[in-house]
Chain length 413, copies 2
């Protein structure tokens, strides 16, 4: 938790409605940090369905392995999250720490171990002192409901400079159902998802398979469409919980993917997930600019995304943005190195509304002044038309500043 908040932080936190069936408690367990909360326990009502997406890292953390293993049960009763230690690359000790954590929580909550979800972020390679959960578990259960959504979002922060929350509501069967999400992440952020945790909750009743389909589809255009530094973490976890409490109010359960209400929920969920994803980029380590990169005219959407990520991950593009330099030649370079179909002579590039290049060369009416004016803004839209087909994609990133180097040059000390 930094004392200096990112200049790109949202100006206020959203009002988060209650979601029946979810409560929170947080505590200072002293896992690594002192003087701040570092453990979150979310309690979930019986019958809560769950879906998850995880890092594709070959060196995934012990909690990720645990969650993947229990996900097929489809039911969740609790979520335990700690910050400060990722319990990643901790070998047998890591697996044992996860087992111990699940034991402690399942006893305290009174539910099967396979309905306890676990997430940890922080330093890699240091054994997690899971025995510390022993001393705080009963207290966390007793204190359920005392922590707000903001408290929950704060307890899971590591190098974040602000807590990340988003909410949306939707009418279903004449009733209002809510989707609330929290997230953490600031560095080691890239597809697929980097050191990023996000937990999203709804009171709608949705079957696990439907939940999983929604989550998977939306991840591609939200959490898997952001990059801070191209580094993908061992711990990335997005979980989506549906408590089903709205069923009592007459909102029938969504049991099938082709229920038309599933698409209604999915679209709203997409808004919440994209909002959270943007907040992560806006808290990118050292970020001073928020950059949207839209690629169109590619042979396929997938190809467009690869080109967009090549631009978004280019240190030279990112330092040019930091320097407010309309150096569009570096965008050309990043398109060229992407390894995707591209034809130099059909390429067009815009900074904001200013077309800077077209037909394989500098725009005939290029204005350095107009292009530079765009670069001075806080939000920088870069658009590339490859001129080949109808494939398109949008990704988001931030600039690369000296502060990024500073923050990451002495992270552990």
């Amino acid at each position: 938790m930094s004392t200096t908040v990112s200049p790109l932080a949202p100006k206020s936190y959203p009002d988060m409605p209650d979601i029946e069936g979810v409560t929170f408690a947080t505590v200072e367990a002293g896992i690594k940090y002192s003087g701040r909360t570092d453990v979150l326990l979310a309690s979930l009502v019986e019958g809560t369905a769950v879906a998850g997406v995880f890092t594709k890292s070959k060196c995934s953390s012990a909690p990720v392995d645990w969650c993947k293993e229990i996900l097929s049960n489809g039911q969740a009763r609790a979520l335990l999250v700690n910050s400060g230690n990722a319990n990643a690359f901790t070998g047998k000790k890591g697996a044992a720490a996860v087992e111990l954590s699940a034991d402690i929580v399942s006893k305290a909550v009174g539910c099967p171990r396979h309905s306890i979800y676990l997430a940890s972020t922080g330093v890699i390679g240091e054994p997690l002192p899971a025995e510390k959960f022993e001393g705080v578990a009963d207290g966390l259960v007793a204190a359920q409901g005392q922590a707000s959504w903001l408290d929950a979002a704060q307890a899971i922060m590591t190098t974040d400079t602000y807590p990340k929350l988003a909410t949306a509501t939707v009418d279903l069967d004449g009733e209002t159902v809510s989707i609330n999400g929290i997230a953490k992440g600031a560095g080691m952020i890239a597809p697929d998802m980097a050191t990023m945790l996000s937990f999203v909750f709804t009171d709608a009743a949705i079957a696990p398979g439907v939940l999983q389909a929604m989550l998977g589809q939306n991840t591609e255009t939200s959490f898997n469409a952001i990059t801070v530094d191209s580094d993908t973490s061992t711990s990335d976890t997005v979980l989506f919980f549906a408590t089903g409490a709205a069923e009592k109010r007459g909102v029938a359960a969504i049991a099938e993917v082709d229920d038309p209400r599933a698409e209604v929920i999915r679209a709203v969920l997409a808004d919440v997930m994209t909002d959270l994803a943007h907040q992560i980029v806006r808290d990118g380590e050292g970020a001073r600019k928020f950059v949207e990169i839209a690629v169109e005219g590619a042979e396929t959407d997938q190809s467009a995304k690869q080109v967009a990520l090549s631009i978004a991950n280019s240190p030279l593009v990112k330092t040019a943005v930091a320097g407010e330099d309309a150096n569009w030649g570096r965008v050309v370079m990043a398109v060229g190195k992407a390894g995707e179909p591209a034809d130099r002579d059909r390429l067009a590039i815009w900074f904001g509304d200013v077309r800077v290049a077209v037909g394989g060369e500098r725009d005939p009416s290029y204005s350095e002044e107009a292009a530079s004016a765009v670069m001075k803004e806080e939000n920088i839209p870069i658009r590339v038309d490859l001129g080949l087909g109808t494939g398109e994609a949008v990704v988001w990133t931030c600039d690369l500043t000296k502060q990024y180097v500073e923050i990451n040059g002495d992270y552990r000390s």
Copy 2:
């Protein structure tokens, strides 16, 4: 050309022997820079064979397109190089500038256009004022031999802080033949080769096909095994010229790839190319540390190289090196994200001779003090054993410092 020389620069320049059949002249043409030489003309004796490797960028520069087109002729009489303007993404104007340059040089030298090699580096997207060559071409021809190897290496520099030269000799048929090379490059350096130019010359007589085979094989383990910032340029060019002058001294021409002397030359050429490649990394923008990343135990050599590059290109690994932080967890992360076969629990990692991780967790005898001592050195060897097979690869990179951001945040201004 910076006024502050990289702290990783070689302490002295090598003594470069003459290579019969090659002469140089340089001039201040004012393409972009003032007060320094920015054009090099190398004159090559009739009968000089040539081979080349080029950027794989889809947005290759006009000079790269030109060289690729004429390469099948296999013969070279002159090489014209300018610094300050890359003549890349310059559309029809770029192609016209290349035609004009070749015309001017072919008239001045008195040789066919298709034996004139061209290379340009510098800013992308600005039309190259090739007409400036008109005024200097005859002077460059008249001054042939007045510029040294050092002068030649200096004229092709852009953001380089020092000129790059390497040399080696080898006994062939009882006579000494030489291989001399010069290179430029400091940023936008990555496989495949980034804003990197290198020109290597020998007096041995070697057929173009043999020359090309040698160059291609060596490029993979030299210029294609370095990365400063993962950004690949539109202009990368490596040319290898064999003047054949040694034939007069009784060194028979090498006409076939399976001539045993070809392997002798290739091995020495590899030393020269690797030396130049290292010098480019040591001049990496803002570099304070030279990092060698060796990956072994991969399923294939290619897989080992991908893992090594994932580590070498990770901003978090590179900033940790800058901060002298033995943060081996970030190496684990970079292995995990590489997308190559890896088994967390078979992984071992060394910083220098200090094994920091083994069997999926921190080394039982891990010493932070010993690992930190390695990080304080100027040269940082990182070794990873994936424990899967016999594939191996070595790549080289530098650290990521605030100076990199500074240099690239205002490059054009």
